[in-house]
Symmetry: none
Subunit: 420 residues, 2 copies
């Protein structure tokens, strides 16, 4: 059976001009996939009648369902209902239920209703209003061509409630039983440290035996997600095939994979620390507080995170962490010896079980031939030993380097904790 | 004169399924508007050959230019070049220049080039490669129907450099001179600390005298940008009206505005520190390293940023910053007295001119009736005095609180530096 052809249309100049990022579309797509619809296309157009009408007529000619957001409000540039009527070749008229929704809203908040507010009850003839519990503009449902169209406001929290309270239940009750239900399952395996092409090369052969499971890869710098997806009628079969495929990927990639549940690296490291009853301290130079920021993004991190000394200045490295002046002089601040002494100093001063230290050159300036931009030295002091690592990443961008330096350090701690 | 019909196409399952929010499209739309192109439509489709081919053929039939992102990498699901060739009815072939780009990238980083890497040099016949300075996949330019198509990678920092270094210069040089140019000008005034409705209320009356300049507001948590935009033929007139409007907004909002050049708060604070020859140290509890991370995002920050002590544990507050045990006991870690001692301790230990300290409850747990989630105490120690501030923000979300606590602290330092 062919999956239903679903689409998403976002309207509004602010989306089109790049003033806001369209997070509505991602939310709706996620919900539709979960419910068993396959989204073939997102489109965004501005607040212009002819553009709106044209794209609605196009979608009406090819999709089974579409979720449209934006342009339902009371102002001059809210044109969606009129454009929908034009696209379907019908009239706009005041809908009594929609009118009562708008009136009830203003009554509830003791605000006077103006004429432009009342405009929100004008819907294409024959359409069904959709209740908006948190805003003034009702949504509506209508057919354009062969396509069932759901029109919702663009305000994210209004749209989200109407999706979960009205649109998805309608689809579950009235659409899915007729079409038979298509199921969608996905699994993301997150890994750090291997280039995308290398991951691809290792998986390409086995992926031929994955059956209905499709192999994909998402580069979310500095992470790569191996994405396994399956779409079909038989949910047990899908899940079984997905489990088998995931198992094979894990056998091949081993501990390069740090999460199979879409957790951030800092949550994975936090969980390992908690399980082992261990604490951690940091000494950050080039990462400038980013590792501490990440670790403390996890609620409850105060149980295992003791402190970070963000020591940009050499004086701070000596005073707070007792790095030896001669090491700084002879080896430089960016050296494995300095990283070792920073880690050991942070561990001693804090009394933590583990201490992680970074020193490097994030750029864009400050590189030398011997120590180019992108160089990081990481020290990890633990109960049994201290080890260090020097890595040269190919980036010139300061933010990219801070990001990947922090990731590399956290990954080093993760691998050490896995050994215990 | 009709503006050029520009479109944007984002490809990739991760955009379509809602796994990632498409921030590329917003960036590209902003750049095209600035350059004088009007964007009529954004479209996103997944990694499926027939969908990709179909949408490229449609766009080729109606647009003058299109920027396409994604699907140029070395893996199985990177199909864009093949789909473009199909849509234009031509073949794929290895392009020698593209091949040399890919080879040069691997040579530079001493990594072996695999066969799947080499695939990235296969381009539709007759297309022109676009150099990618920060990644392996070259972009390319070609015609489909009457439309000039620019294909770029989906990785944001690669795409952005290629837009500014190759695509926009090409449009400026080869496309705009033929079509005549529509001008777009915008000015963003960034402010922190006033609610959006309050800003709107203060500006609504004067905005009626702005002429062709349109007033808008962008909420980029925790910042609000007042956005002034103008579009038209006469560039001098646009710029003059924009300057006048901006001057009036600045008169009304005064030092609530921290930047008129879209600089981040940390760059503004960094510039003030540099101009005054002053240095800064931090003592961060609830912000967990985020202030240090922000300050060190600015290249050259090592000139004025000395260190941050991220002291999550009370022991660290006492040992490193000499906060008195009795203060912690009697007033608690989250108190103006503790924030004062943390700031003074950080200033003394580091020898910095200024020290900024934060202690608060980011949540979601840990709040009490007296000190609810969202409470932050900030201390600022300077050459003349130390002052402290307690603010209660209405958020329950940990990340939102860390973000706004860090902003409030940096803003306090900014206002102090402005007085010198």
């Amino acid at each position: 059976m062919q999956p239903m052809h679903a689409e998403i249309l976002s309207t509004g100049d602010e989306v089109l001009t790049g003033t806001v990022v369209d997070s509505n579309a991602a939310y709706i797509a996620g919900k539709l996939f979960e419910t068993g619809f396959k989204v073939f296309r997102h489109t965004s157009v501005g607040d212009e009648m002819e553009q709106l009408r044209g794209v609605l007529a196009e979608i009406g000619g090819r999709a089974d369902i579409v979720i449209v957001t934006g342009g339902l409000g009371p102002t001059v540039d809210d044109l969606t209902a009129a454009a929908a009527a034009l696209a379907a070749g019908i009239e706009l008229a005041e809908h009594p239920t929609a009118r009562s929704y708008v009136e009830a809203f203003f009554e509830k908040f003791y605000r006077p209703m103006t004429e432009s507010d009342a405009k929100q009850a004008l819907l294409p003839t024959g359409s069904e209003p959709i209740f908006n519990p948190t805003g003034t503009a009702p949504g509506f449902r209508m057919k354009i061509g062969g396509c069932t169209c759901f029109f919702l406001p663009g305000v994210p929290f209004e749209m989200r409630r109407m999706m979960t309270e009205s649109v998805l239940p309608f689809l579950e009750e009235h659409v899915l039983p007729k079409t038979g239900r298509q199921h969608y399952r996905e699994k993301l395996l997150s890994l750090f440290g291997l280039p995308e092409a290398e991951v691809n090369g290792r998986l390409i052969e086995i992926s031929k035996g994955f059956g209905d499971v499709k192999l994909g890869m998402i580069a979310r710098f500095p992470i790569i997600d191996v994405k396994l997806t399956a779409f079909g009628d038989d949910v047990n079969r899908l899940e079984e095939q997905l489990e088998t495929a995931a198992g094979q990927v894990m056998d091949i990639l081993g501990d390069w994979i740090f999460s199979v549940e879409q957790e951030p690296m800092e949550a994975v490291v936090g969980k390992l620390l908690r399980e082992r009853g261990a604490t951690v301290a940091l000494a950050e130079s080039c990462t400038g507080g980013l590792i501490a920021h990440r670790l403390t993004n996890v609620s409850g991190s105060s149980d295992y995170f003791l402190f970070s000394a963000v020591t940009y200045a050499n004086a701070a490295k000596m005073d707070l962490l007792h790095v030896l002046p001669e090491t700084l002089e002879q080896e430089g601040a960016v050296s494995e010896q300095t990283a070792r002494q920073m880690a050991e100093g942070a561990r001693r001063v804090s009394g933590a079980d583990y201490a992680l230290a970074t020193s490097g050159i994030a750029g864009p300036t400050g590189g030398t031939e011997e120590k180019p931009v992108g160089t990081v030295c990481i020290g990890l002091a633990g109960p049994e030993r201290t080890h260090t690592k020097r890595i040269v990443f190919p980036f010139r961008n300061r933010m990219a380097n801070k990001e990947i330096f922090a990731f590399a350090a956290l990954d080093m701690l993760r691998r050490e904790l896995l050994k215990r």
